[in-house]
């Protein structure tokens, strides 16, 4: 049986940013997020305390009954990384559209022109995708793409390798070749708080090896990238993610998106999804 959307963990704030109680939305319901001394808390509209977890620099909550622990990212725990609290961006789109865009590389030359991609280097070579039944996650591996400036610490163009991991329906992790440390992966995440089915708060977070850039530089680099993504996300029709084939036309470059949609359907996560063609 598929679990209810209420039984997943969702990000609701940056630990470093939570202070006075503030009202927000989660899955269309009012919640309040706050901190009393060093104790972080979340309450629902009736004032009932919801379970919380502090992880990856964010506060997480679950409005239903959490069925398991929030996922972990062991790679992010290795010493020497800069943990970057990017902050949040509100986007008028389905939370699922936001995740799907994060899993997509084919848009780099057109949306992140001269930063993450550039014409004529537009080809997306075949990569591997699988739905891992044991962990209930979607993975894309051996994804390779030419990038003119792969990261703040990258000089000139390189072919970058990536792995994408969908760790929960609204959270994805990107592992990316790390220019200063061959053999290690930089970790960039996208945690999405579904405000409602067509509006979300997106919390990117990063664990990078980068000794040259300041925190402010790394934050503004990622914010620039995400602003470019937002101009796309707020202009897709329909706003919700179509899960049934027929409405959109995927190609081989979209294997991750195809697997993500298939997986959402399989686990019955349809909040923010459009099930019948409009």
């Amino acid at each position: 049986m598929s679990r209810s959307i209420n039984d997943y963990w969702y990000p609701v704030g940056l630990l470093s940013g939570i202070d006075a109680p503030h009202a927000t939305l989660l899955l269309g319901a009012d919640i309040t997020v706050g901190r009393t001394h060093s104790a972080y808390w979340v309450t629902d509209a009736a004032g009932k305390a919801l379970p919380t977890i502090k992880r990856f620099g964010h506060l997480w909550t679950c409005p239903g009954t959490p069925m398991d622990d929030l996922f972990t990212i062991p790679e992010a725990d290795t010493a020497g990384r800069q943990l970057v609290d990017v902050g949040s961006v509100r986007v008028k789109c389905s939370p699922l559209r936001a995740v799907e865009n994060f899993l997509d590389i084919a848009h780099f030359p057109f949306v992140h022109t001269d930063i993450l991609g550039a014409e004529p280097h537009t080809e997306v070579a075949r990569y591997n995708v699988d739905i891992r039944e044991d962990a209930n996650e979607v993975w894309a591996t051996k994804v390779k793409f030419f990038q003119p400036q792969a990261a703040k610490s990258a000089e000139g163009g390189i072919t970058t390798e990536y792995m994408y991991r969908v760790a929960s329906p609204t959270c994805a992790v990107l592992y990316k070749t790390c220019p200063p440390r061959p053999g290690e992966w930089d970790v960039i995440t996208l945690f999405v708080q579904p405000l409602n089915e067509e509006w979300c708060e997106v919390w990117p977070w990063m664990a990078l090896y980068d000794d040259d850039s300041t925190m402010a530089e790394m934050v503004s680099f990622q914010q620039l990238i995400f602003m470019q993504d937002r101009s796309i996300l707020e202009n897709q029709i329909p706003t919700k993610l179509p899960l049934d084939p027929g409405m959109e036309v995927p190609t081989q470059a979209d294997l991750t998106s195809i697997a993500y949609r298939r997986w959402l359907k399989k686990i019955g996560y349809t909040y923010g999804a459009q099930l019948v063609a409009a």
Binding site: E123, Q236, V249, P250, T251
Partner: protein, 199 residues
């Protein structure tokens, strides 16, 4: 309405694309490098991105999201992620009939045999948005509802009415060639304010 005016040619120069709405249908109106106008559904078949955010190269329109490129017939001719692939013929943008007459771009959402409406010996002045349905607008002007409303008067004004949504329309205004553009433009703004204020 068979033909609906969606803009003045001078507002959509070569190599540009703009969004327009006709009866709640979102359109991407674009002009090729050679000056050919097109009216397409504002939605890329790949992943639903608005084509009005795209870019024109030569006689093609490309989507800004992944660069899929469509020729003048709306057929997808290039998928940059797969440069060696010839896109299947089935991938195409929704196309609508589009004509240019009197310096104005006309679109028909349904196939039609009707002729594009005549605007007489007038010249294009400007477009302006009005927060009224096309029906209410005609009623308040005490004119029959239709694609063109002729007001006449000192400036000999004619309005091509683009019903955008159920509550908004865009007016494309024309006047006698000897009339001062600025004066007509001001008169139109006054008229709009009056119409919106009238109960």
């Amino acid at each position: 309405m068979d033909w609906v005016a969606v803009g003045l040619c001078e507002d959509v120069p070569a190599r540009t694309v703009v969004p327009r709405r006709v009866q709640n249908t979102d359109l991407a109106i674009w002009c090729s490098t050679a000056g050919v106008f097109h009216a397409w559904g504002d939605r890329c078949p790949h992943r639903g991105m608005r084509l009005s955010h795209g870019f024109v190269r030569g006689e093609t329109l490309s989507c800004i999201y992944h660069g899929w490129t469509y020729d003048g017939d709306g057929a997808c001719v290039s998928i940059p992620a797969h440069p060696d692939l010839t896109p299947p013929k089935s991938i195409c943008a929704a196309q609508y009939a589009c004509r240019v007459q009197d310096g104005t771009i006309w679109v028909a959402l349904q196939p039609t045999q009707a002729a594009v409406p005549e605007l007489g010996a007038r010249r294009a002045i400007r477009s302006l948005a009005v927060q009224l349905s096309a029906e209410t607008l005609a009623t308040r002007l005490k004119q029959p509802f239709g694609p063109v409303i002729t007001l006449g008067g000192a400036h000999d004004i004619a309005l091509a009415v683009q019903p955008s949504t159920d509550t908004d329309c865009l007016l494309h205004a024309f006047a006698a060639p000897d009339q001062d553009r600025k004066a007509v433009s001001l008169a139109l703004e006054h008229l709009r304010d009056e119409l919106e204020a009238a109960a």
